[in-house]
Each structure stands twice: as structure tokens, then as C-alpha cells.
Amino acid sequence: MQTLQGIAVSPGVAIGEALVVDNEGVRIPQRFVAREAVQNEIERLSDAIAGADEEIAANRDTVTQQLGKHYGAIFGAHLRMLHDARLRREIEGLIRQNHYSPEYAVSRIMRRYAKVFQSLDSAFMKERATDIFDIEKRLLKHLLGDRSENVSQLTSPVVLLAHNLTPSETANLDRDFTRGFVTEVGGPGSHTAIVAEAMHIPAVVATGQFLTDVSGGDLIIIDGNHGRVILQPDEETIARYRHEVEEHRTLAARLRPLANKPAITEDGTTIHLYGNIEFPYEVKECNASGADGIGLYRTEFLYLNAKTEPTEETHFEAYKKVLLAMAGKPVCIRTLDLGAEKLLEVPSPEDERNPVLGLRSIRLTLRNVPLFRTQLRAILRASALGKIRVMFPLITTLKELRQAKMLLTDVMEDLEEQNIDFDRNIEVGMMAEVPAAVIFLDRFVDEVDFISIGTNDLIQYVLAVDRSNKDVAHMYTASEPSVLRLLRSSIQTAIKSNTPVNICGQMSGNTLYTMLLLGFGLQQFSVPPASLLEIKKVICSVSIKQCQRIARRVMTKENAQEIRSYLKDELRKQVPELVP
């Protein structure tokens, strides 16, 4: 048994067979073979080696011809490894003695070698692990033939393990069979994390290198509550986690009846609970949990999933789907919130050394007006079909907000001229997530219909902590007193001016902070669909008066850890079933 510690980015526990995803998403379907099949399997191995041999030899000849003998020689080395008598003995040994399938045996042995290489001191030698993976991949390809599976079309449940997953890879994952994922790199708040949350599957990132320790088909436990990944778990551990999964299922079942009840505190304050979504299909769960609407509809997937820039129709169809499903309840669409490096048809900035401080989000859309207009037109057209709100992300200055609003008015005029229907009174809001805007919020509130506090970015900017840098990611926390002070003052600024305000960051979906935020005066929460009922449970179990007392207590404390443990104690007192 081996336990890895990473960063928990999506809660829950998954127990399942590992699928190690590389660029080709090769999957090992079967780990063991019957005793009487062993001879047959060894022949399959020989055939695979012969097939790989042909390929590598052809590569060697082509490369030698085109680039010279010096480059061709590396394939000569691959051939020598492929036919290494020792390697062959080791693989055959696992097939004969352990009755491993050739696929599993090849993967086990090759990964063991890759691991040794990676542990070598010389950087040049470390790199040789990629040569091993290359040979492994070739052998597996020949062994699996047509049976190799793509991650977007799985046939049985798996947990995905990868070095890194691109946003489009995560977006295309098979939703029925993907039970969780782990990446060696990445950080909380990264796109991978958001997609995991959207899919309601546990995810752990930034575990550091471990893929060489795993072969496809191994049983793996992902503990998304504590950021742990357990390889080769023993029986006792498996039993303990199975129990936890069961308990969670029971809790979810117990919370289910809350779906049809309003979120009202014990002393009678009605709280509005909205869902955060990324994909139209998530609306279903929002409705099933009785959400009052969509507080944050992220539109990035429309851009990330596509090979070309999405058309107005693509936007419109997605928005329409969400609106119709929400049947008259409000849907808040956030305009594009991505960096230039993630977009295909926008020129990449030449010197983007610090993307989170760079050309992204509203800064990017204001510079690429046609791209922005396409989205705004689609949003406005959809506004004729239901209750839409539009929200601009990453606003830093009043000038930016005014420019964005002006553009929106401009698009409205176009639609008017063309006699296309839209909601003239569409509500316009902004994300309060850049400290500059949060500090200056009293001037912004006069120019917007609502404010949504994006704690994910706000915390990162206030604490100057990059969430995806695993050396500092642990410093990233909502419970830092400085962050809380800023949050309290922005909520109160909005309340004073009668501007509706909600929090849509991960913080608002964490039951640990619900009482504190209620105590600050927050009356609207926008949370991941999976958290709706838990948050509602807290709201229905407490009084505002209690929460105000808790908030006052918290504000006297001076460090994050103390605040967290105090909040946990208070939550345990009020809603014990939510504190494990």
C-alpha cells in the first residue's frame, strides 16, 4: 500500500480500476489470464514484439535516411531493448507465474524500468524514461489491437490517472464510466478541478510523480476529501473507504427531501440558493436539488471544446437549453473568462510570463471585440426566452466596466435595428474578484444591477498565492483573516447600496463557511450543484443571530487555522451529520 498526498480539488471517494491516460489513452482491459491460456498469451507477446520490431525498424530506416545515422541510432537502441533477453524473461515470468495478461505484464515491467530511470541523478538519463514509455506504448498497441479504448468511450467504470489533463480532455471524458481522477500536476481552481466538480467526481491534483508505480487495472482509491490517493490498498483500507462511500450515499439520501423546501433560516430569513454550472446537463441536478436559478453559468467550455471559435448559434443553442430547462428561473451567464493562450483564434501574447496577471477574461474580450460581440448577441437573443442576467468577469477599473456595458448597448441597438427580440431590462452585473475592484466596490455598485464575489481569484490575488504551484498552494485558503475582512466589507458595501450580492467561488459551496457568510449578511449563495442540499441543510439549521455571533468571534481571531477549527466546531454543534 502506498499513499500519495496531493491537493483535493473535488470532494468524494472513488474506488476503482486505474486507467492510466497518456496521449493515446491506452487502456489495459484485463489483468489476469487463465492458467491454460498462458502458452497462448506468450505467443501473443511474441507477435506483439515482432510487430513492434517491424515498426521500430521502419522508423529507424526512415529517420536514418532523412536525418542521418546519428538520429537513427536511437531506434537501434529501442530495438535492442525490445529484444532484451532479460526483459523478455521478466515479462514471461509474470505471465507464467502470476498469470498476468501480457498487457499487464508489459506495463508492470516497463514502468519499473521507467521508474529506475527517473530516479537517476543525471537529467539526461531521467529523460530516457520516455524511451521506455514509447516502447511500452508500441507493445500495448500491438497487444490490444482493436480493443484499445478511448477515454471518451469507455465500457466499464475507471478512475483516470494522468500527468495532466487538458481542459478539452477533461470536458470530453466519458461521464458514465469516469469515477474520479488524479493528475500529477495542476492546482485547485484549475479548469480540471472545475470540470471534476461539475461531473461530481472526486479529484486530486499535484500528487507529484507516481504514474510509474501504477499499471492499468490496478485497484486505486481516490480520497477527494483529503487529497489522498492510495495505490495497492490493503483490505482494511478498502473496507474503510467502502464504508465512507456508503455513509455519503446515506447522507445524500437523507438530504434529498430538502430539495422541495425553501432555504429559510430558523429565524425566518429567506436565502437564495443558486447553482454554478459549466455544462448545460448540470441544470438537471440544480433543478433536482431545488435551486432558485443559475448563479454562474461559465461559458468557457464552448471555446475549449471547439476546434474553431464558437458561432453565435452555438452559443445561443447552449444558452437556450439551459434557460428552457430552468423554466423561468434566473440564469446568470458569465462572459468569456479565459486567457489568450487557451484560445485558438486569438493571437497569443508575445511575452505572457504571468498569465493570471495578463491578457485574460474581460481584458481579452475588450481587445477582441468581434469575439465579444458574438457572445453578447447570443446572450441577448436568448434573453427573449427567459430570465437572463449577464456578468462580466475580472473587472478591475470602472472604465472597463463602462466599456463592456457600452458594447452591450451597442449590440442591443443592432438587434433593435434588425427587429430581433431581446430583454431590454436585462440585468448587468460584475464579478468582484480583483482586489482593486473589491476595494473600490462602493463606486461600482452604482453602475451594476448585482455583484458576484469570485472568491477563487480574489483569494489568489489577495494572498499572492498561485493555486497551481504546489509549493505554495497550501497557503491558499479562504479562512485567512485578511480575506475574510475584505469579504465582509464588500458584502456590507453591497447591502448598504441595496445591490444584490452573492458569492460564487468554491468557498460558498463549502459548508464550513456557510454560517460565517450568513453572519456577514450574505443572502445569496451560488454553489456547485452537488453542494446545494448540504448548504441548504446548514441554512435551515441555524439562525441569523447565531451566525452573526459566530462572524464576530471569527473576526477577532488572527490566523486561518484557528478560524477553520473554530468554524468546524460550530458546524459540528449545529449540523453534526455534515462534519465527518
Binding site: I74, G76, M81, D84, R86, Y113, F124, R128, D131
Partner: protein, 100 residues
């Protein structure tokens, strides 16, 4: 003493290739080593690897300046050690892969 059935010969060498004993020189080494009847081992500190297995050799991660002992055991041990030691003491892979 000339080649007898069980002669065991060994020699110490120092890796001169700037990138160490990586795959390409290793390939040349194992290819040559496999041409001999004798068993060939490379000893580095307390580790002994199969001189005919490229994978095994690569796990040594022998960098420039590493001192290794080549040991051959068998009828052609003496020639084997001489030829193989020469390979390890060659500076550049290109000299080795110039071909016959």
C-alpha cells in the same frame, strides 16, 4: 594465460562520454557483448548488471567519470573485455556508430 574454458577476466574503465553510458553507447556495447560466448557483467560499486542487457545497463545511470569494472567469464573472456572496454572508453557515440 591464453583462453581456457573457464577464464575470468576483468578490467576497470572510466566513462569518457560526456553524456554518460546512455542508450546509444549502451546499444553498441550490448550488441558487441552479445557476440561473445562469455557472460559479461558490468560492476558499479555494489551493483552488478548483465552486460548483454541494454535495459539493465541503463539502470546504472553511469555518468561521465564513473568508474566501472567489466567482467567476462568464458572461453572468449579476454577478447571480450578488451573490445568492450574500448567501447566504454570512446568519447563520442558517433565514432562508434560510424558503422563497419
Amino acid at each position: 594465460m591464453p583462453n581456457t574454458e573457464n577464464s575470468k577476466v576483468s578490467r576497470c574503465v572510466e566513462i569518457t562520454n560526456p553524456q554518460g553510458l546512455h542508450l546509444r553507447p549502451g546499444e553498441v556495447f550490448t550488441r558487441k557483448a552479445s557476440e561473445f560466448v562469455s557472460t559479461v557483467s558490468i560492476i558499479s560499486g555494489d551493483r552488478r548488471v548483465d552486460g548483454k542487457s541494454l535495459l539493465d545497463i541503463a539502470t546504472l545511470g553511469a555518468t561521465q567519470g564513473t568508474k566501472l569494472e567489466i567482467e567476462a567469464h568464458g572461453p572468449d573472456a579476454e577478447v571480450a573485455v578488451k573490445v568492450l572496454a574500448d567501447i566504454l572508453e570512446t568519447k563520442s557515440v558517433d565514432e562508434l556508430t560510424k558503422g563497419p
